[in-house]
Amino acid sequence: MEERKNRKKKTIPAYAKYAGRNMWSGILFGIGMVAFIDEMVFHQLLHWHHFYDKSTTAIGLVSDGIFHAFSWFATVASLFMVADLRRRRAWHAARWWGGILLGAGLFQLYDGTIQHKVWKLHQIRYDVEVLPYDLVWNSTACLMIAFSILTLVRTRPPRAEMNDGYE
């Protein structure tokens, strides 16, 4: 309703113009957040994950290095993007949260399947039957992705306005 009114007045709501940036900022923050929780909870507090598992493949080490560095950067950069969106009065909390769930879910799924299983970076926990842990890990990831898609579709601004809005 409100968007429609705005279109009549020939002005674009700021959040519609920056719908993409809202989502991307959320995705980046989601990746950073899940990496941070992973480090804090599973490495530091529970000591389930190992800093370096001797069965790690070389490509696993590279992938982990890149994702660790990227997520560290993304956490900070995404919050500066939020500050930028807010000063443009274009921050859309729901869409941003949708982005967070998408980023967090995708990264967790990648971590749980490719990094843990294919490249054997490390396992979720040692000296236990790891299958239930893997199932919980990856289904949480899938749940987050499903919710994120729902949220992102619901918060999508009308197409015409989105296209108009991009620089």
Binding site: A14, G65, A69, R87
Partner: protein, 270 residues
């Protein structure tokens, strides 16, 4: 535990003094320049002086005193020294804006020569973010994955050269990522971010590599604790670098036209 025969290299008093001397000189020169600048009624932010002096002190702490003495046989102490000399000291010293201070203190002719030097092509190549990253982290890969590390403890000149390189490469890298001083060759934020992420990733990978493959003459336990210190310490210093880079982006891309309530964006719409 240690395979090193000669424990004196890198720990002798004269050698320590030699390595610390440039940084002591740097503090003296900087303070003189600030005093000269103030005398000419040109104010200088006191926090810049604090950054510079703190940077020099952390470099001095790395190359002399108890940490340097321990670094000869204790890999974890060596790694703490690396973090101070190669990461923290460069960051703090870049924040001291020494080139700005030099440009305003030098005689006009020398200042012009300095700014010509900064615009020259060798400086352009070295200050390219990706080149600076390779210079910085590539040097560390060489040091810890070849025999260089054990050779360093057998030769004073080599020890001095490597420490000089670690500091200078760290400084060039920091100055290529965040722009505090006048920078004639500017790279985009995306390029600088990419280079920073690549350097951070290579640094993290190297720390895990050291954890699993101790350099010659380093025990497995020391390699593990040293590798983890490098990993987390690197993250701690780099997050400051990331924050400053992002803050510079935030300031740079502010909306140019004042915002108004009726038109949320204030931009002309076509």
């Amino acid at each position: 535990m240690m395979a090193m025969n000669n424990l004196h290299h890198g720990a002798g008093l004269t050698h320590q003094l030699l390595l610390a001397l440039p940084f002591i000189m740097a503090i003296i020169l900087y303070i003189s320049a600030v005093l000269l600048s103030l005398q000419r009624q040109r104010p200088w932010h006191w926090h810049r002086s604090v950054f510079w002096i703190a940077g020099c002190l952390s470099a001095i702490a790395a190359v002399s005193g108890p940490l340097a003495r321990r670094a000869v046989f204790d890999f974890e102490a060596h790694m703490a020294g690396h973090l101070l000399l190669g990461m923290l000291a460069p960051l703090l010293m870049v924040l001291g804006a020494p080139v700005t201070l030099m440009l305003r203190t030098l005689r006009p002719r020398s200042a012009r020569r300095l700014s010509r030097l900064l615009r020259s092509w060798p400086v352009r190549v070295i200050s390219d973010p990706l080149f600076a990253s390779i210079l910085n982290v590539g040097g560390l890969w060489l040091l810890y994955t070849t025999n260089l590390y054990s050779a360093m403890h057998g030769s004073n000149p080599l020890h001095a050269l490597i420490h000089l390189h670690v500091f200078l490469a760290g400084y060039v890298f920091t100055a290529a990522i965040i722009y505090i001083d006048p920078t004639p060759h500017r790279a985009s934020f995306v390029y600088r971010s990419g280079a920073l992420i690549a350097a951070l990733a290579a640094h993290g990978m190297l720390s895990k590599y050291i954890y699993a493959h101790p350099p010659a003459g380093v025990s497995a336990i020391q390699a593990e604790s040293g590798g983890m210190l490098m990993y987390y310490g690197g993250d701690a210093v780099d997050v400051i670098l990331i924050c400053i880079l992002c803050y510079q982006w935030y300031k740079r891309c502010r909306p140019r036209i004042p915002l108004s309530v009726s038109k949320p964006e204030g931009f002309p719409q076509n």
